[in-house]
């Protein structure tokens, strides 16, 4: 069986795969390598060095932006995970309620709507409310966008869970809330964790919405990178980008561990 399947991979398939993967990864690998370049010129190799990392840790403005980004990402991801999980529970377990279609439509729309529109509309709201733009306006904007992603992730996990587990818990005397907290919640924790990490990375990545909703003096890291990049390539940016990539890589490993945990636990607890 195995041999037969391997026999079916043609040279064409292998070439397509290899070229595809090279296309996806080479630019990132080159960027990471050049972040350790000692030379001031981005294109001339001057030997290995941590110089640009030092430069970053002495750059007050960049550090502030990075700190701002991390705070926004952590706070917005946490609120988004709370709200997104509640939304998923409401959609999967709440069955019918008034305005359910509108609700799921509102959660679906930001996934596909261009970021310029989301950003513009939130800015118009903040202006109308006379809200001072800064940390909280960006955080609210990111929460609104990312909770939709969290809802999708948690919703699909919740929908695949066997509901009879909860019904059994209720037959044994739990009230619905207890049954949810004691039985369902532990089973969907990995999906919730994956949702949080997705929300965190999406927030850490966003330029467009943040540009609309942040105020002067509270730029996030992507906004700073963006304005630097428009002026040309700087080796320091390579170092910052490499650190962001490293951070996200760690998160991906954690997320896939959570997913693995989720599927093996689900297999032992209930049929998928």
């Amino acid at each position: 069986m195995m041999a037969q399947r391997i026999g079916r991979i043609s040279p064409f398939n292998i070439t397509a795969l290899a070229l595809g993967m090279a296309f996806l990864y080479l630019p990132i690998v080159i960027l990471v390598i050049y972040s350790f370049n000692a030379s001031r010129l981005v294109t001339v190799w001057g030997g290995w060095s941590l110089r640009w990392y030092h430069e970053f840790f002495n750059d007050r403005a960049m550090l502030d932006a990075a700190w701002m980004s991390l705070r926004v990402a952590a706070v917005s991801a946490t609120i988004a995970t709370l709200l997104g999980t509640l939304a998923a529970v409401g959609l999967v377990r709440g069955e019918r309620f008034r305005g359910r279609t509108l609700f799921s439509g509102m959660l679906y729309a930001p996934l596909v709507m261009p970021e310029v529109i989301s950003g513009l509309s939130l800015l118009l709201l903040f202006v109308a409310l006379n809200a001072e733009r800064g940390f909280w306006t960006v955080t609210i904007a990111h929460t609104t966008l990312t909770m939709c992603f969290v809802t999708v992730v948690v919703q699909s996990r919740l929908a695949s869970l066997d509901r009879s587990l909860e019904e059994a818990a209720m037959d044994l005397g739990c009230d619905p809330v207890q049954a949810f907290i004691r039985v369902t919640l532990p089973l969907i924790v990995p999906a919730i964790a994956a949702g949080w990490m997705l929300a965190f990375t999406l927030s850490l990545d966003d330029v467009v919405i943040a540009s609309f909703t942040t105020g002067p003096g509270s730029a996030t890291l992507p906004i700073r990178i963006y304005s630097e990049v428009r002026l040309g390539v700087k080796p320091e940016i390579n170092a910052i980008c490499t650190m962001v990539i490293a951070l996200i890589a760690v998160l991906i490993v954690l997320a896939s561990l959570a997913a693995k945990l989720s599927s093996s636990e689900a297999k032992s607890a209930a049929p998928l």
Partner: protein, 304 residues
């Protein structure tokens, strides 16, 4: 059965907080966009004439309705800048989607033909760049494409060109950036349909005398069309509104509608026109979104 009904109660309450949040931060702001797109431009802070003033009751609202202005929309359809950026968005999105299909299909096909245990790894490898910041990925390309960047160095070393080629700020660079950023969006739905396909169908085709190429064209490709449609729309829809990639990689010539909106908003400070451009962009997106929705529904029904 009765337990189920009891359960529905608290679950419904769970939706209250996210519901209110989405109404306040999605629906209401969207109403503001529509409202401002219908108001007059003004040199003020905020730079538009308020349309509604709810504090003065119904009389004021109906008076305001009489004053609604379609000037911004009139400007949108009369000024060639907007029409050309509208058109450019469509052209760029269609072209990029076609390139993505051409590149993404062989990769997805190769993934689906891998031995079963390698497939999750290949899928992971496709998803990882999607998690990596897209700004960083675009920046990585700027590194490569710049005047004395790696690409020109390689081309010079191979004597393929005699002097550095200008890559940055060209449409080529923009398409490269778009294709690079959206490739996972194309590969994943294609892979999803291709990997579900029954290999015995191909064996049957070859038993009946078709060559591998014929079998692909007559059996595999038609069966993968739902994946092709999903992938194409999944790329087309966000590319239409793209702002950052054309801004960083394309030249300063013609703009996409997302860029025009940005310029109108931040540089010209004409909020009503920017809001009208946003509404126009959404209108542009309605047909592909409806198509995608129908396609998804049909695929889900087909699965059952």
């Amino acid at each position: 059965m009765s337990t189920r009904r009891i359960f529905a109660q608290p679950a419904r309450y769970a939706a209250i907080a996210p519901y209110l949040w989405m109404v306040l931060f999605f629906l209401v702001p969207f109403g503001f966009v529509v409202k401002i797109s219908l108001s007059q431009t003004a040199i003020a802070q905020p730079p538009y004439v308020p349309v509604f003033d709810f504090s003065e009751g119904w009389a004021a609202i109906s008076a305001a309705f009489a004053q609604l202005s379609f000037d911004s929309f009139r400007l949108l359809i009369s000024d060639s800048l907007y029409i050309s950026s509208y058109l450019r968005s469509v052209v760029v999105a269609v072209t990029s989607t076609l390139i993505l299909l051409l590149i993404g299909y062989p990769i997805a096909y190769g993934m689906a033909r891998l031995p079963q245990r390698w497939q999750p790894i290949a899928m992971m490898l496709v998803i990882v760049p999607f998690w990596t910041s897209f700004l960083i990925r675009i920046y990585a390309w700027i590194n490569i494409l710049q005047h004395d960047g790696l690409l020109n160095k390689i081309l010079l070393a191979l004597h393929l060109v005699s002097s550095p080629v200008v890559w940055l700020s060209t449409d080529t660079a923009m398409y490269l950036g778009i294709v690079y950023s959206y490739l996972p969006f194309m590969i994943l739905p294609l892979y999803a349909t291709l990997s579900k396909m029954d290999p015995s169908l191909l064996e049957a085709a070859s038993d009946l005398g078709s060559s591998p190429l014929q079998a692909f064209w007559l059996v595999t490709f038609p069966l993968s069309l739902p994946g092709v449609g999903a992938g194409a729309l999944l790329c087309f829809i966000p590319i239409i509104g793209e702002f950052v990639i054309p801004d960083l990689l394309a030249g300063s010539g013609s703009m996409m509608i997302g860029q025009t909106l940005w310029l109108e908003f931040f540089t010209n400070k004409d909020w009503p026109v920017a809001a009208a451009a946003a509404v126009a962009l959404l209108v542009l997106l309605v047909p592909p979104l409806l198509l995608y929705d129908r396609l998804q529904r049909r695929t889900l029904e087909g699965d059952r």
